[in-house]
Amino acid sequence: MNNGFLEEKKHKREIQVRGFLRTFFSIGINFWNRIWRGNAPDFPLFIFASVTSALMGLPIIYVIWRSAFAGKDRWVRLLDTRIPTLLWSTLSLGVIVTIFALIIGVSLAWLVQRCNIPGRKAMQWLLALPLVIPPYVGAVTYIIILGPRGWIRDWFGSSPFNIYSFWGAAFVLTMFTYPYVFLITSAALKKMNRSFEEAARAQGLTSYEILWKVNLPLLRPAIGAGAILIFLYVLSDFGAIAMLRYNTFTSAIYYQMGSYDNLSATVLSMVLILVTLIVLWIEARTRKKQKYYQTTKSYKKPQLYQLGFWKVPVLLYMLAVFFLSVVLPITVLIYWSKLGIEAGALDQRFWAYGWNSIKVSGLAALACMVLALPIVYLKSRYKSYFTIFIDKLSYSGYALPGVIIALGMIFIFNQYIPWLYNTPTLLAIAYVIRFLPQSMQSADSSLNLISPSIDEAARSLGFAPLKVLFKVIIPLITPGVLAGGALVFVSAIKELPATLLLRPPGFDTLAVRIWVETSESVYHLAAPAALLIILVSIVPLKWMLSKY
């Protein structure tokens, strides 16, 4: 215990100086002990975790700081012109996507969990499959189908629906984000205490009344959580929105930086940060209420509603969603990949892009596995206001849009650490800032399975806290840490906005190629990279399905 180290040190000094210093020191140590409720962590560990989390928060803090110096004129001009339009376009898209994702996600969850649908088991994971398709890849497929040079135009001469529009963006985002609502609602339905439904039935309510009066009110927290997740996603998405040439805050910030007006970009970022924080605040409030809802751990096989005549339309609806969000996009990609491969798309350059992706993502994943550990360990074993703060601060890069992180990093590295600027390492750092919390969550959940008395047992056997960490804790949580690293790896491979803004010139990754080739309508070169990214994304699917 560091405690002891400080105390011993204190004792020696007392002999040396006594008097004033003694009082001064004991006040300091008492204060230090009080912060930690008498259980102070190891000093190196504490420093390591604090520095990590400070670095995680730095880009955002720097953007906020700089926005304060953007000048009154710039603020007034942007507030008068861009900001109101952007607020409207961003929030309206967020609301529409959230509503549609909720309708699709909740209805599918209820149908799959509570109705006599053939193939319920398979449906449970088939309908979650769009999770493996990043929305910007989904956007690519729909541009290929409905775009000005797309299939529909080739076959019919004109496209009935302009994909480069509000509704185009809304459609694509809905189709590739509804699985979050579907999974959260399904989990809530599974955990729901069946006695409520049985009690309602005993009171003579019909199935329809039970749905509206029992199920939906009990699902409110799950639905709310899903809604906030979707809304936050729309706020932060860059790839799909920019590919579909719609304008929200993220794309506006991106193009502002493209025209080297970084200060205006900070102002827009500041507004987006505020909007995001408001949504996060609402989330924190609703989460507090969530615990009052009674759930059960034991799973009872649900009594299924007999759909009867409705079975056919319901099945058609489910298959339509599955077709539009999985079958069609994958088919399009396979078709164009085939064309691409025949034209020699899998050349040396392609594999070089792939290797670039693996290199930076792998580096980021390794770094995350190392950096997550001290923060998670402190939070779990030395709970105090300070460790909670460190933990929360580490989430700032994860909670806020990638373009803002990139903006902050450009400022900091350009100005203070130029030798890292324009290097792949910078890209890896950006991925760490964006995805560290994924590895933290994973390490945290395996750490929570280890009783704190395991730590104490090792200490009573003569091992200092830091040694306990290496000899006992790390061997035990290695599987969780590796899983977290895999998650970070996949997220980093898919990452688009920060990659576009921070990559060194000439350093292309798979995600960047998809972006470039699609904007130039060279679909047969975009498709193989997109397909490869989807294949990689399947790796953590099992973990994601079990998470909700």
Partner: protein, 351 residues
């Protein structure tokens, strides 16, 4: 020679107004087994953690094997105190096998010999290659004990070691753990909320309540002569009856009559006290002067637990819990007479 000494130790957790442990003083003789007994929240586990070095006392001094490990200016952390500890959930390392678990903290060169030695002591020869999840609860308990003893600690601390075992195994393990600790020659402190564990295993019992020691004594002293109402009712069942110390200082005058008592704690004549009568110390007797009606009874096999409503002259109602020999045939409404066995009657302070 004391192996563990606590002098005026107090601990208040941050964020709490009430002390978890208040002015606790305790001396534990070398080689003895002491149990801290009390209901949950009485401070027994905190006391154990203070001795182990997982919590730091706000006040007082802790001396282990003659060495001060905690006072105002001294703080030896847990890993340097050289204690052995057995945890409630055993806290065995799931990634290590039995051998490596036991050898975990052992740094001498004769590691293999020592591990086999303690394995023999706990009766688990041949289990060294097994992993923890391949062991039964009782075997895990033995491994935990072996691990705690491997380093030959002067002091072994055991936190509710029997609470995860089912009833039969529990009885067997009590004897076994006591044998192992005595054979190892260690000084042990148990924490328990189970009076049967405490009575069976201890040389000394410390009864605690709300952070304050209520009584320290041998199991017999605690059971036969509880000092206050709490101890009387927490350790075993008891009938508490108010009375006054009689004029010969060896009797207590109660509504049941004048009852002879040996231990009167040197209280003065006329002082208001309670007497504690164990259900076992009331014996059915034709000539007994306590008379009452059976109003409720439960047949437990070992005895009949009956509640008797006494016939009292002054009109007040007094109920007594008695144990009747299971061969007797009683019915509700039966009139019975009892006599008191004087050795099981204790005078307790009426607080």
């Amino acid at each position: 020679m004391y192996d563990i000494q606590l002098i005026g130790v107090s601990k208040t957790y941050t964020g709490s107004n009430e002390a978890a442990v208040k002015e606790l003083s305790l001396n534990v003789e070398r080689g003895s087994i002491v149990t801290l007994l009390g209901p949950s929240g009485c401070g027994k586990t905190t006391t154990l953690r203070l001795i182990a070095g997982f919590e730091r006392a706000n006040k007082g001094q802790i001396i282990l094997a003659g060495k001060t490990v905690s006072d105002k200016n001294t703080w030896i952390p847990a890993e340097k105190r050289g204690i052995g500890m057995v945890f409630q959930d055993y806290a065995l390392f799931p990634h290590l096998n039995v051998f490596d678990n036991i050898a975990f903290g052992y740094r001498e060169s004769d590691k293999v010999k020592r591990v086999l030695e303690v394995l023999d002591l706990v009766g688990l020869n041949g289990y060294e290659k097994r992993y923890i999840h391949e062991l039964s609860g009782g075997q895990q308990q033995r491994v935990a004990l072996a691990r705690a003893l491997a380093r030959r600690p002067a002091v072994v601390l055991l936190d509710e070691p029997f609470s995860n075992l089912d009833a039969d195994l529990r009885v067997a393990m009590r004897l076994e753990v006591k044998r192992i600790i005595k054979e190892a020659g260690a000084t042990a402190i148990f924490v328990s909320h189970d009076q049967k564990d405490a009575l069976a295993i201890s040389d000394q019992i410390v009864v605690m309540r709300k952070g304050i020691v209520q009584q320290i004594g041998t199991p017999r002293e605690i059971y036969q002569y509880p000092e206050n109402k709490f101890v009387a009712s927490f350790v075993g069942q008891s009938n508490l009856i108010e009375g006054v110390i009689g004029n010969d200082l060896n009797t207590v005058v109660t509504s049941l009559g004048t009852i002879p008592c040996q231990h009167t704690h040197c209280l003065c004549e006329g002082e208001e006290v309670c007497i504690s009568i164990r259900p076992d110390s009331l014996e059915m007797d034709e000539n007994g002067h306590i008379e009452g009606t059976v109003i409720q009874f439960t047949y437990t096999g070992e005895a009949i637990d009956a509640v008797i409503a006494l016939d009292q002259s002054d009109g007040t109602s007094q109920k007594l819990l008695v144990h009747i020999h299971p061969e007797e045939n009683i019915k509700i409404g039966d009139h019975l007479r009892f006599k008191i066995l004087p050795n099981f009657v204790a005078v307790v302070k009426n607080e």
